[in-house]
């Protein structure tokens, strides 16, 4: 009797162990399936994050009501002197000169990806200053945008303005360069006296500067924006293509 009871108990234990083993195997199979599904879900999440990152945080740009990255631009330029359209120490040995159009998408990429390295490196370090010359080649809206930047420069905010403009740039010649948009950029750039800036930007005094920049670009053989050269006491390095930060740094050393 006791023996049969023990046998039944043993059989029950065996069955429980078998069921547990089967259950464990099932869970492992399910975990592998979940793992594969999870890896796919993770890949999708990463792709979404990348798309959001590449799109500049969801804003398509050119919106007066959605000006972004003012803090980033301010942080990038904090503590660096500005004199009109020149950033950095005016007595620095070398000068980086950029010919750019505010509406130019390649200038936007240069402003966001290469210029920050130059600003945080040689410009902040005092090895070079950085001059931006508005070269208006994209279309009619380039002129008011450049005038607005130069007017901001009258109050020491040229680089804040042009940097913020690029970060919020819309589609070229789409009509986004409105008074509201430019005013929103000016406010985001920290222009102290908006009324004065508004008067300055509408002045005809910038026309001669635009004409002069256009002539200089032609003399240098430039064909598009952004075009860059580096000038120093030992010569000038003119780039025929859009340079990398490393190439500009090397040019600064060679002309200084």
């Amino acid at each position: 009797m006791a023996s049969r009871k023990a046998q039944r108990e043993q059989a029950r234990q065996e069955r429980l162990r078998r069921e547990a083993a089967e259950g464990a195997a099932r869970r492992r199979r399910r975990m592998v399936q979940l793992g594969v599904g999870g890896a796919l879900a993770a890949a999708i999440v990463v792709v979404v994050l990348i798309v959001v990152s590449q799109s500049g945080g969801g804003s398509s740009g050119g919106s007066a009501s959605d000006v972004s990255d003012a803090g980033l631009v301010a942080k990038q330029l904090k503590g660096i002197p500005q004199h009109g359209n020149v950033l950095g120490d005016p007595s620095a040995k070398a000068t980086i000169v950029e010919f750019g159009d505010p509406q130019c998408p390649v200038c936007k990429a240069f402003s966001e990806q290469i210029a920050p390295q130059l600003i945080s490196g040689p410009v902040r370090g005092g090895a070079a200053n950085y001059q931006f010359l508005p070269w208006l080649i994209i279309g009619p809206q380039s002129k008011p945008a450049a005038e607005a930047a130069l007017a901001a420069g009258e109050q020491g905010r040229f680089w804040n303005y042009i940097g913020l403009f690029y970060r919020n740039q819309g589609e070229e010649n789409s009509g986004y360069v409105t008074d509201d948009f430019m005013t929103a950029i000016a406010k985001g750039a920290g222009v102290p006296d908006i009324a004065r800036w508004d008067t300055d930007r509408q002045s005809s005094k910038w026309d001669s500067q635009f004409k002069s920049v256009n002539q200089r670009a032609g003399q240098l053989g430039f064909t598009g924006t952004p075009s860059i050269y580096v000038q120093g006491p030992h010569g000038r390095k003119v780039f025929t293509n859009v340079p990398t930060a490393a190439e500009v740094n090397a040019a600064i050393k060679s002309v200084s």
């Binding site: 975990m31 980033l72 966001e112």
Partner: protein
């Protein structure tokens, strides 16, 4: 199956390692986030302007939120999954580590080929996230269903590997 598992570190070891690495990740990401919020940029310990350049790039923020803050959230989830037992903890840890690793690969690509600057703190975070993926994948696929397996093995040996950190 138990033979294969026998070659793996114990789940307790993996969970302790996962918790320690996640804590280090929280520390790194918190430093970057605090530096961004106060002085402006994290400082590269080996010198150079790489950290500043990366912090000032447009890629340092996602929907207006500093990527380091998002990183803190990810590491906290990974810490929680290391502390949590069972398949829920294993699967959550694997999923969070996979997302974190994928995004770290993207950010490292940006540093190398787009921003053209290397931030040591970001590299440190990417290394930690890679280690967390290895730890959590090993835990998830090596120890799924470990509780039932322990019953099937008669309890003592497998259960002794521990499912708690205490």
């Amino acid at each position: 199956m138990s033979g294969a598992r026998g070659r793996l570190p114990s789940e307790r070891t993996l969970r302790v390692a996962g918790a320690i690495i996640a804590l280090l990740g929280i520390a790194v990401a918190t430093y970057i986030a605090v530096a961004d919020a106060s002085r402006g940029s994290p400082v590269c310990l080996a010198g150079g302007h790489g950290c500043e350049t990366v912090a000032q790039s447009r890629y340092s923020h996602l929907l207006g939120i500093n990527v380091a803050v998002i990183g803190i959230g990810g590491y906290v989830v990974l810490l929680g999954s290391a502390l949590a037992g069972g398949d829920t903890g294993r699967f959550t840890g694997f999923l969070a580590a996979a997302v974190g690793f994928g995004f770290s690969v993207y950010l490292t690509y940006l540093e190398l080929f787009v921003i053209d600057a290397i931030c040591q703190w970001c590299v440190a975070s990417a290394v930690l996230m890679t280690l967390l993926l290895a730890v959590n994948a090993t835990r998830a696929f090596g120890y799924a269903g470990a509780e039932l397996a322990a019953v099937a093995d008669g309890g003592a040996a497998a259960a002794g590997r521990g499912d708690t950190l205490g």
